[in-house]
Symmetry: C2
Subunit: 153 residues, 2 copies
Amino acid sequence: MPERDERAEFIESVGDAIASWHLSRATGRVYGFLLLRTEPETLDTIGAELNLSSGGVSTAVRELVSWGLARTIPQPGSRRLRVEAVGGFEQLLAASHERTRTFIRTLHSGAALTDGARARERLRAVVGLFEGYVDAGDQMLRRHHVEDGDSRR
Amino acid sequence: MPERDERAEFIESVGDAIASWHLSRATGRVYGFLLLRTEPETLDTIGAELNLSSGGVSTAVRELVSWGLARTIPQPGSRRLRVEAVGGFEQLLAASHERTRTFIRTLHSGAALTDGARARERLRAVVGLFEGYVDAGDQMLRRHHVEDGDSRR
């Protein structure tokens, strides 16, 4: 079944990508799986499809929900939850910006520790690059947020 | 010596930040050390200050040079090199963009694997967010590059 192979490959790639944003690979694989599904899935199905323990699935789902990448849907008359992917990376990108802003503050604090004007100027240039970079990303996220809000009306 | 402590803290923070861009912490610490220095430093001084083996320093310097974050300066009449920091993160940021573009291609390829229109639309929204994000960053880097070029004239 070639499509099954392609699906597995897609799921692994999303796992790798999400791992580079400081979440676990298992969390990324669950997200990749859910992204392909229109209907919410039970934790049991997710575990069976991805070969994960029920504890592993719970942890991954909790992580996705806390980052706004999935939501749980209660089943009427059952204690079993179903889960679906949410297409919003805004929180993860905002967290990545926050890390960069921490780095910018560190670089700022270094100005007092440099041993001369040339080192100070070089540091200022690095700070300028990162500030411009984070500002451009923030503007884009804000714009996206506004458009998103508009489309929901 | 409080300043020495602050310097050590700065160096560790730069090490942590650089590690999140897929380089080694040692490489980041060497960069943090060099950022504070106006004059180029020998590999021996770097190793002694940061408590790194000469092999460790060589590897870190090679990594920095290959990413455009440092340059080596030959000493006339000596085989010893000196190294100084270069204030350009453009290559690292561009590599980070390239990873994001790979992720976007993966997401695109997933459209054919979704099981319904709603999943396909959600995937398209995620792709749109990342494309906007990477484009904003690219524009900023290009603008920075132009300004940089201008200021050198």
